[in-house]
């Protein structure tokens, strides 16, 4: 298989993985909790897009304008009503809590939409482009470009805006922020809301490529864990880079050995990365800063 084609397809898949991991990375970076409800939010985002497409005929990419704010509000509510109450306890408690939230989201989707697999078929769903001899599906290209836009937008937001800097500060050292007069609770809520909005946006975009049901996002979320641990828990570009690494690793596994082992690679990478970097990158950095 020509190298360029492998690279291009890995890039496109990396775009999928990255967009579904930004939300997880932001929430972990700031709140130091693993948001298991990320998959649930992606699924809800996908269904919202399906409703908008099915009844009002809005294209998935445009539907993001409606899906993202709704998910932001949903995320803010989850943080205020639930996550904040257990923030004092061990991080595993918030993980179990968000796992419960994910199950509730899944049951809501089953109740409203039933169990069948659904899909969104915009006009360009079959269209392909010939980019320098490599045939590229338009839908994946759209998702790839969207993930670039999200990457740049998020970086600018975190670097330039006041709120963005507050969020990054919170990620570094929550106590110091509180002492410096930052309303850590409000920033926490906004960060969680933003993370959930990113997950909802990813869900909306992924409808272009995947069909989905209430159980959607489960395997994808496991890959996002690998990505946020591998790529960097506070750096958004790190997430994009790790997504590419994982996509390439999977691509090579399929090409060189058996396609059935594709997911095995991502799970083995997950365990190895965690064990080799105990406590993940953040703990490594934190331990160095502690002395």
């Amino acid at each position: 298989m020509r190298l360029i084609e492998a690279l291009v397809s890995a890039l496109l898949v990396a775009g999928l993985y990255a967009s579904s991991s930004y939300g997880l990375a932001l929430i972990y970076g700031v709140m130091k909790i693993i948001n298991l409800a990320n998959a649930g939010t992606m699924m809800l985002g996908a269904f919202m897009t399906w409703v908008l497409w099915q009844w009002i005929g809005i294209d998935p990419v445009i539907s993001v304008i409606l899906v993202a704010p709704t998910c932001f509000v949903l995320g803010a509510l989850i943080e205020i009503l639930l996550v904040r109450r257990v923030s004092g306890q061990a991080p595993i408690v918030s993980l179990l809590l968000l796992f419960g939230v994910w199950l509730v989201m899944e049951s809501a989707a089953y109740l409203i939409f039933g169990g069948e697999t659904r899909g969104v078929v915009p006009a360009y769903s079959q269209a392909t482009l010939d980019v320098g001899g490599v045939i590229v599906p338009v839908t994946r290209l759209v998702v790839f470009l969207a993930s670039i836009v999200i990457l740049v937008g998020l970086e600018l937001f975190l670097r330039r805006s006041f709120l963005g800097r507050a969020i990054r500060a919170l990620a570094q050292d929550r106590e110091a922020c509180a002492l410096a007069g930052i309303d850590t609770r409000r920033v926490g809520t906004l960060a969680f809301g933003l993370g959930t909005a990113l997950a909802g946006t990813a869900g909306a975009l992924l409808t272009l490529v995947f069909s989905f049901d209430p159980d959607f996002g489960r395997v994808l979320q496991l890959k996002s864990f690998t990505i946020i641990v591998l790529g960097g828990l506070e750096s958004i570009p790190g997430v994009a880079f790790a997504s590419f690494l994982l996509a390439l690793a999977e691509n090579l596994t399929v090409t060189l050995s058996k396609p059935a082992l594709e997911n095995l690679v991502s799970f083995v990478v997950l365990v190895v990365v965690l064990v080799v970097m105990p406590g993940g990158l953040a703990a490594l950095l934190r331990r160095r800063r502690l002395a």
Binding site: I33, I34, L82, R85, V86, A90, P91, I92, V93, L95, L96, L97, F99, G100, V101, W102, L103, V104, M105, E106, S107, A108, A109, Y110, L111, G114, G115, P214, R218, L222, F225, T226, V229, K258, A260, L261, N263, L264, F267, V268, L270, V271, L274, V275, P278, G279, G280, A283
Partner: protein, 334 residues
């Protein structure tokens, strides 16, 4: 020696007695009415889930290391018995100790490196281990080129007397509960609770945290392996997507957490609730939203308001003595 401490020793005997009574009552069912197939089916699955939940509780409840990959050990046990039975025609229940041992050894292989991780990181690592084990079981025949697990086609097993498996399950249930009670009352349990409370402080108080966690996981995996062996003997058909499924791993976490994490009877409450919901309630409504909603809401409520789980809720209503479901960190008496 103050009366308080005497009571401490005596109280674990009460729980042990309760376990033996339950075992005898459940074992009497087929003796009283050999054709009560439904009662035996329900009782088997309640006991079977209780073994898994109780085993998980040792590492998840006592030591506080939440594992989302326990189906790996269940599957290891089931397939060890399946392969020994199918290929070498051993009696499945005789292979049970071997199956449990191999599951325990596997847990040491994957546990030693991952147990160093903390809280959420350990949880994610176990998800990775669980899924990786499932995919290995699916593809091992192709990788090694030998007929071991028969991959996705599943391992068909000869028939076996259901009643023998039933009694074996009662025995394994009593042993599993006895082990969890004995650990909790003893020095080993005290060390695990210390790890659960604060691993670094425990380490400086002389607790060999790494070694204790590996042993706790091995005991937990041993019991899960035994449960896997029982399942193989009863269902007489194994396939990797069922035996190593993420859904079972989730159930094994849900039962003790919702039932009452770290307590003796929490996993049993959780097992009763889970099999009641799975068996009776899901067939009332032809939509999976009901079981998922029940587990989701219960999990959120329990984690937020009553860490002692249903046991805690019941004790608030006075149904069950508060002493019976003591706090997470162990207690003055058991």
């Amino acid at each position: 020696m103050s009366a308080r401490l005497a009571q401490l020793a005596r109280s674990s005997w009460i729980h042990l007695a309760a376990v033996v009574i339950i075992g005898l009552v459940v074992a009497a069912v087929p003796i009283i009415d050999a054709r009560s197939f439904n009662l035996q089916r329900v009782a088997f699955f309640v006991l079977w889930y209780a073994i898994l939940a109780g085993a998980w509780n040792i590492i998840g409840g006592y030591a506080g290391q939440i594992s989302f990959g326990h189906s790996a050990f269940l599957g290891m046990g089931a397939y060890t018995t399946g392969i020994l039975w199918y290929t070498f025609h051993f009696d499945p229940l005789l292979t049970l100790p071997v199956a449990a041992l191999i599951a325990a050894l596997y847990s040491i292989l994957v546990g030693a490196p991952t147990l160093r991780l903390r809280g959420p990181y350990f949880a994610i690592a176990t998800i990775g281990v669980g899924e990786a084990t499932r995919l290995i079981a699916v593809n091992v025949d192709d990788i090694l080129g030998i007929k071991l697990t028969h991959g996705v086609t599943g391992l068909p097993l000869p028939s076996y007397d259901a009643e023998t498996v039933y009694f074996a399950t009662v025995v394994v249930f009593v042993i599993a509960m006895a082990v969890t009670i004995w650990i909790r009352a003893g020095r080993f349990g005290l060390g695990l609770f210390a790890i659960n409370m604060d691993r670094d402080a425990a380490e400086t108080a002389g607790v060999p945290t790494a070694r204790l966690q590996v042993i706790a996981l091995a005991v937990s995996a041993f019991l899960c392996g035994a449960a896997g062996s029982l399942y193989a003997a009863r269902q007489q058909y194994l396939d990797p997507s069922t035996m190593f499924s993420f859904n079972i791993s989730i159930a094994i976490v849900l039962m003790p957490v919702v039932g009452g994490i770290g307590t003796i009877w929490g996993p049993v409450f959780g097992a009763i609730l889970y099999s009641a919901v799975q068996d009776q309630i899901t067939s009332l409504v032809r939509n999976p939203f009901v079981p998922t909603l029940i587990y989701g809401v219960l999990l959120v409520v329990i984690v937020m308001f009553e860490p002692l789980g249903i046991g805690g809720l019941l004790s608030r209503l006075g149904v069950v003595g508060r002493k019976l479901v003591m706090p997470r960190g162990g207690d003055a008496d058991v």
